[in-house]
Symmetry: D2
Subunit: 288 residues, 4 copies
């Protein structure tokens, strides 16, 4: 199977490298060409436009940062769709909203091609280690064809059903992550305010049934209440909270706690914390 790969950012680079190392023939394209040399060393072929990548491959994988970026490589005369045709597959591993995915699905099908949205959970390290969690939704036939490829990039791969479900699953996942971190911030704020050693609170939490890697990574940052190196920007988390609340409203599900958390995140945006990590919510919560 010939693979195309569009989008060689931090995540895409790691993922494409893993495919090349696994022996796949990969044709690549990136907005800025300065990334190419490392991939040429690994045996990749470079194409001039996303359309050419699509034409040269059986399955094209895209990994873009935003819905706008997805559109910029997907649409137009030199876009991915322009190179799609019957028998080909378009796997979009970018994290986008359900509407963008549904549009990609529609456009691919117009050309007789198949479509899969396949956003990932996990950041740089799991991408490099090929231990990402991949949530796939869309054409099941394409899921089955591309599963061996996905397995070279992720450890946990799930097929969720029709297009749009992967986007929604990410919202539910992020809602829980964000709730956990906000409660951790409130617990640490209470501990600090009442004269406890916040590092000891982290030890207690880590020694019990709630021990988890995120608390081990971000807990010390929240305990220190400064320096929140951005792994997942707060403004993106707020956007996901907004989308989760919108979805909840559409399906008639009240979410009292998430609604309150969203206001805290909106407050954080007004304090110019949008580009910090979402753990910087601690700065809004903590009084001392």
């Amino acid at each position: 199977m010939k693979i195309g790969f569009v989008g060689l950012g931090i995540m895409g680079s790691a993922m494409a490298s893993n495919l090349l190392k696994a022996g796949y023939k990969v044709t690549i394209w990136n907005r800025s060409p300065d990334k190419y040399s490392a991939f040429l060393d690994l045996g990749a072929t470079v194409a001039n436009t996303p359309r050419v990548v699509a034409e040269s491959s059986d399955v094209l994988i895209a990994m873009m940062a935003t819905p706008d970026a997805v559109q910029s490589v997907r649409d137009g005369d030199e876009g991915i769709i322009a190179g799609m045709s019957s028998g080909k597959g378009y796997v979009d591993m970018s994290t986008v909203d359900a509407d963008t995915s549904l549009e990609s699905y529609r456009l691919a099908h117009e050309k007789g091609a198949l479509f899969l949205e396949a956003p990932v959970a996990g950041s740089r390290k799991p991408a490099e280690d090929a231990t990402l969690t991949i949530m796939a939704a869309g054409d099941q036939e394409l899921y089955e064809t591309s599963l061996p490829v996905l397995e070279k990039m992720g450890r946990k791969i799930l097929y969720l059903g029709e297009t749009g479900k992967a986007a929604r699953m990410k919202l539910a996942n992020n809602l829980v992550m964000c709730g956990m971190l906000t409660s951790l911030s409130e617990g640490i704020a209470l501990a600090a305010g009442s004269g406890l050693d916040t590092a000891q609170l982290l030890e207690v939490l880590d020694s019990g049934a709630v021990t988890n890697p995120m608390f081990r990574l971000k807990g010390p940052q929240i305990a220190a209440n400064r320096d929140f190196p951005t792994a997942f920007p707060l403004k993106h988390m707020q956007k996901d909270l907004r989308l989760a609340l919108k979805l909840a409203e559409e399906v008639g599900q009240p979410l009292f706690v998430t609604a309150t958390i969203n206001e805290l995140y909106k407050k954080a945006l007004t304090e110019n914390l949008g580009d910090a990590d979402f753990a910087a919510i601690s700065l809004v919560i903590r009084n001392k």
Copy 2:
């Protein structure tokens, strides 16, 4: 060192057994005597009253279910304090509020004895396996003397400072646990409401940075939204939320999210869920 042990419920039994198995001489007392035979087989001595336990031991450990039960074995002519004297230590491993601990501290010191509050995190299994987390506060001298004994019951043992800090640490710990579970419930409610497979949400969460034993245990119960076998009663969690909010108010720390969670737990109490596990909050949250 001669050990006394008062209170042989589910937790106390497991903890006292571990002390006996470690070779300590242990004098025991329990409200109902039907527990004694197993301990006699392990070499324990039985005393007639808590006072006698105190008189027969260097360090007396108590493990009671409630502040009222603590008072019932502590006070009065045949209570623990009546048997305390200079050189002895009273280690209360029950989970009680700071006021009860401060009173125990005062009473022990009136008799010239030392006091340590040492509540635990963890339930039956960690008690049996001697892997409890023990949060100790009070007389540091007694902490150091009794540390070898505590190490026979727990894996993680922390000294937090003056009396009252262990009670406060439990509140901060429970606030975080409760927040995590409530956010999990909202995430699962959103997933269920929007047509996702809740078991797949649990898989996604478990494959990422937030994986934790509590979600693995209680997540399937929340996904099923029924059968919440009581490990920690919802009404006790609500009491801890109330005490955490009271403490936060005293120290001038707003807790928007915890305040909202507390209202959900109050709502659960009005729906007669007080004796179910605190994971039954899902029944209040989830609409479908």
Copy 3:
């Protein structure tokens, strides 16, 4: 000045009658013609389509129930816009979102006409008594021309600025109304739960600085906690809360209390209270 009037529902009928009684020449149109006879008696002229109303009048007033209804009389070959031309004015007194108003403004200007959005606060009785509050926004020239006409329908008439501001003003107004009623419901719930006479609470409130007509009207309904005759449907209030929160999010303004109120209203929708009055929120709040 020749007036056109499109939409003779409960509100529109009362408003058009007041114009006729004030001596204006009014050409009318309504979706169902069974309303016409009463207006013919008052001297109105009936037109066949909204387009004809527009052609026959200097200023056309529309009063429709929903944005969809606005579009149905505005667009198409026989719609209001088709009859608009330079020198004419289109005054839309329907309550619609800012986007609908901005589209109406654009369409009117394409034909060389002017546009004013002019939603009202107040329901049937103030419409009959010509004591409505009218919030106008859009072309100031048209505002000034039509002010004498508006004064025949309302007592308080405000010009707010560019198109869209009237829609936003209604959201802010409804947010406050809804917050007042929700707090009244919580106060009554607390009174009822703690053995107080809720009618006495209403007397106390009415005797002090917060006395207001809405509490006098809806307070007894909330105290009785049943029978909420629909003046303003709960589902419409929830929609306005949603739009208010959306607007707040766009302008970076956290609204913790309104966000929580919105969840209560969403909860009410899940309990099939959408068609009851928005005072029925009491049924969701009150426990006894």
Copy 4:
């Protein structure tokens, strides 16, 4: 009927004056004697201690600022209770918690006297104009005896039932007032943030069914978002919110909105707004 009056602060002075002007014989006492001369001119008699006031009167009225002040004039050898005996009545018009009132009731009854708690709604102006709202609870016999006296100080006088109910009624009343003002603040914040004229929002609100004196008084302060002259200190309102939530918790009534408002008020305390008027909550809410 001979009246005693203890406590001649801003409120008490106005109330005692009204009794003297109505022709009652009044014996007075105040902590600082510099208030006496004006009352002597009105025909009052001065006593040396609260006990002497009680001995010289059939019905003693007290009007103190805090529960502590109530205790200071009530208890001890020269306190009100020391002068109470069968046939006398003690009417406490101070705003205190239910526990303080219940203790006053108990102490009065021990001496064979009757007790009434009778806190007021309204501040200086209604006190001067004898238009206060008076919420009475306790011994109904004393209520009936003293009603003619109360009618010289207030316009609306309610008998609520057993001792404690007046304190609870004030909590419910203040919860509603506070909720109204907080929603007004959020509405004004939304208006300001989205480019509306906040003065126009106040006009719209004032022209409709929610028009009320409190909005007319405090609305312009909130619209200006500065200068909040203290009529009712924010810290006292926060205390009442806390007590209302405590009462709600005791009676099993969730109050989602009030709980969120309480966190906003706690936030205001951390920003040193405790001594400002409770309308200063606007400073915490508004972003621009």
